[in-house]
């Protein structure tokens, strides 16, 4: 990593940043003096608008694009030039969507009013006439359910007329017309029945007429909305240009995230750049302008440079596994080349069915080609696809083909579980020792060879001794004892007190239980393989029983075979991926890994809908 300092004219800023964004080689780091650029929020708003417009079209016309659908290919030259047409289109879609929403809203409000009028439909007096006259007062509203009889009795002696209307969830609708002098008393009795006034819509005519009018009006609004929606289907063909527009705005927004330090005419930005891309960055800027100053410096002791790892094509996908745990610390050992073969191998053993392996490899590698996946999805599919190939290998070794056994090259784990466990522990031991060797390598490279030998090498001697002893050579015992002695004597060498040091060393030796549990953890390789195989067998057995049950049974059996094996494959891919990862994270990384690095996130074209081609 090199520290980059860039000085240039403000008028050239966007052009320079665009050029850098295209290749994505520089990560700019904001400083405390940075200002927010004045247009940044406008661009962000416009991007939000475009995003809403795209969502609107997806909802009303085109349908949502599948997650795996290939992205739109746009040449860079075209991508560089935002068009006013797209802006107009965005505005047009926005206006349309607002109009449709408001029409739908109004129609909904009217429908609610119609619903409220329901209990009053039998009222044959126009609504506007339900107001006090010279001698009468009218009450229209709801009383509590079941209180109608009581009210009738109460009102009997008074000069008034009670007309019961419909009954709804809000209560019993009633209209009471009372002589003015008795109105107060009527009110009092009504109150006793939890009376609530009903507010009629401000319209003229009987409830029935008003309801009919409102329904008609609501239908009209709906029709208009539907017409506008049909119009949006016509625009839908232009959705692609909106997608491009959105990505253009997003790219522009990213260029605007930080201003750097500004003077009246110039600006200064700093950041990081990969050491091997220095020349390319210089060239890109020189292409835009010759009024600039660009310097590259090595990181100082107070700097924490971001880290980036580069691997061969086959190993690169496995960075997804490591990055999920933590970004490798800058300058630390990159575990990916060692992790990759182990991950692939463990994945295969955990699935251990050659038939499944073929299906997985074909499906994931084909999906990768067809959908042109990028980024994390691409890595994930590659890891699983390669895992599928490894599954074919291990499945053939163990003789598993879609739950049936056919000619195992090694042995059948179900029949010889002990052999299988030994294989798992052997692979596990190899994995753990690899981790320890990396630790020795890293420490030795840092000039701490003595510490590496005493802290990690001693364990390797102990294990090697135990192994030789276990193989039947008594001499191994002495080697193991030598390793243990080193651990006891030097395990706690910082301790000044000789007794304390020996006890500290003994405690260190107790750490062997940790190694033991690490090793036992690899028995999951067998257990998960078992799960795949036996479930496949269950599916086959049940299908076989169904098969004998006649023609319908045969159909059900076929469906069961397809559905069941698909389910089994999916659930076991999940299991195999997660548990292979875990064996790396806990057992392997625990031995040496230095994480908590900072990811190198350069200013680059991060597009959502489009693929920018050269």
């Amino acid at each position: 990593m090199k520290k980059v300092n860039l000085f240039a004219m403000i008028e050239n800023r966007d052009a320079i940043l665009s050029a850098l964004q295209k290749t994505g080689n520089v990560m700019f780091v904001p400083t405390a003096d940075d200002k927010v650029l004045p247009h940044a929020s406008e661009v962000a708003d416009e991007a939000a608008k475009a995003s809403d417009a795209i969502k609107f079209l997806e909802q009303h016309a085109t349908g949502k694009a599948s997650l795996l659908a290939p992205k739109l290919q746009v040449p860079y030259e075209k991508f560089k030039q935002p068009t006013d047409r797209s802006k107009d289109l965005t505005d047009q879609v926005q206006a349309l969507s607002e109009k449709i929403a408001s029409l739908r809203n109004e129609a909904e409000t009217m429908r609610v009013q119609v619903e409220k009028l329901e209990p009053w439909l039998s009222l044959d007096v126009p609504m506007e006439e339900l107001k006090p006259t010279e001698n009468t007062e009218t009450f229209a509203g709801y009383i509590a359910d079941g209180s109608l009889d009581k009210l009738k009795k109460d009102l009997e002696p008074l000069t008034c007329e009670l007309v019961p209307m419909g009954n709804t969830a809000e209560g019993q609708a009633v209209v009471v017309m009372a002589y003015k002098d008795d109105a107060e008393q009527v009110k009092h009795f009504l109150k006793a029945c939890d009376y609530v006034d009903f507010v009629f819509p401000k319209r003229t005519g009987t409830a029935k007429e008003v309801a009919a009018d409102l329904t008609a009006a609501a239908e009209e609004k709906d029709r208009l909305a539907a017409e506008l929606e049909a119009e949006s289907v016509k625009i839908a063909s232009k959705k692609d240009s909106l997608c491009v527009y959105y990505d253009q705005l997003k790219a522009e927004g990213q260029r605007m995230t930080s201003s750097g330090q500004e003077t009246e005419k110039t600006f200064h930005m700093q950041g990081w750049c990969r050491a091997d891309r220095e020349a390319s960055v210089k060239e890109e800027i020189a292409h835009v302008t010759d009024v600039y100053d660009l310097t590259f410096a090595d990181p100082g002791p107070e700097d924490i440079p971001p880290s980036v790892v580069e691997n061969s094509k086959i190993v690169t996908p496995y960075q997804a596994v490591t990055d999920m745990y933590s970004i490798v610390h800058s300058g630390a050992f990159d575990p990916n080349p060692i992790l990759a073969p182990f991950f692939c191998c463990f994945f295969g053993i955990m699935l251990s069915d050659a038939g499944y392996g073929v299906v997985i490899a074909i499906f994931f590698l084909a999906a990768l080609k067809i959908f042109k996946l990028q980024g994390f999805a691409k890595k994930l599919f590659l890891v699983i696809g390669m895992g599928g190939l490894s599954t074919v290998f291990w499945g053939a070794m163990f003789g598993g083909w879609f739950g049936l056994t056919w000619h195992p090259f090694m042995f059948e784990p179900m029949k010889e579980p002990l052999k299988m466990l030994i294989l798992c522990y052997a692979l596990g031991a190899f994995h753990l020792v690899s981790g320890m060797c990396i630790k020795i390598y890293v420490e030795t490279k840092r000039g701490n060879a003595k510490g590496a030998f005493l802290d990690t090498g001693s364990w390797l001697i102990l294990f090697a001794g135990l192994f030789i002893w276990g193989m039947g050579t008594p001499f191994g015992k002495y080697i193991a004892e030598l390793g243990a002695a080193i651990i006891i004597l030097f395990g706690d060498r910082e301790n000044k007190n000789i007794i304390g040091r020996l006890f500290g060393g003994l405690y260190k030796l107790y750490g062997i239980s940790g190694y033991l549990s690490d090793l036992l953890s690899y028995s999951r390789l067998f257990a998960l393989g078992l799960a795949t195989g036996v479930i496949a067998m269950v599916i086959n057995t049940v299908a076989e029983l169904l098969w004998k049950a006649g023609p319908i049974g045969i159909i059900v059996a076929i469906l069961l075979l397809i559905g069941g094996h698909t389910f089994n494959i999916i659930i076991n891919i999940l299991g195999a991926y997660v548990h292979s990862s875990r064996l790396q994270y806990i057992e392997f990384f625990g031995k040496f890994f230095e994480g908590s690095g900072r990811a190198f996130k350069p200013l680059a074209l991060e597009t959502k809908y489009t693929d920018v081609t050269k």
């Binding site: 745990y325 799960a531 269950v538 057995t541 875990r582 994270y585 806990i586």
Partner: protein, 158 residues
């Protein structure tokens, strides 16, 4: 004739599939509740959240697996039911316990961890992987119990 031993072996299968299934059912339910909550905020996270909900489902599968092997070994699948001695039957019964017991508890607790992972996904979708890893840590013990149950069943000579 159905011997006491054979009946006990059925008990082993029942414990394995039954209890582990209960654990998974509880776990998947707890995770599902959390998932529906996250979904109400952001329906786009369905895929991530579904993976997390599926994780506590494996214990039930492990239980099913052991139950199936027991039934297969005693001939309950496919016809000829074997006559087990009482001791063989007790051994089969005991073999069902590790996965039944551990599956039940780890299924439920894994569901709780998965539910937390789902909340984590709701707030920080980029950390879904870590939520999955946390949930997978709980699974370890179900995997070990599965292995022991299998070795026990496999070790009973009929």
């Amino acid at each position: 004739m159905l011997t006491l031993g054979t009946a006990l072996a059925f008990g082993g299968a029942a414990i394995a599939a039954g209890f582990a299934g209960v654990g998974s059912a509880l776990g998947v339910a707890v995770a599902g509740e959390a998932a529906a909550g996250v979904m109400s905020e952001d329906p786009d996270k369905f895929g991530n959240v579904l993976v997390l909900q599926a994780i506590p489902g494996t214990q039930g599968i492990y239980g099913l697996l052991i139950a199936f092997i027991i039934l297969l070994n005693i001939g309950a699948v496919g016809g000829d039911l074997k006559e087990l001695t009482t001791f063989q039957g007790i051994a089969m019964l005991l073999a069902g316990f590790p996965i039944g017991l551990v599956g039940c508890i780890s299924g439920y607790t894994q569901g709780r961890v998965a539910a937390c992972g789902i909340s984590l996904t709701g707030k920080r979708p980029e950390e879904t992987g870590k939520g999955i890893t946390f949930a997978a840590m709980v699974e370890t013990y179900a995997v070990l119990a599965l292995l022991i149950s299998f070795l026990m069943v496999n070790g009973i000579k009929l």
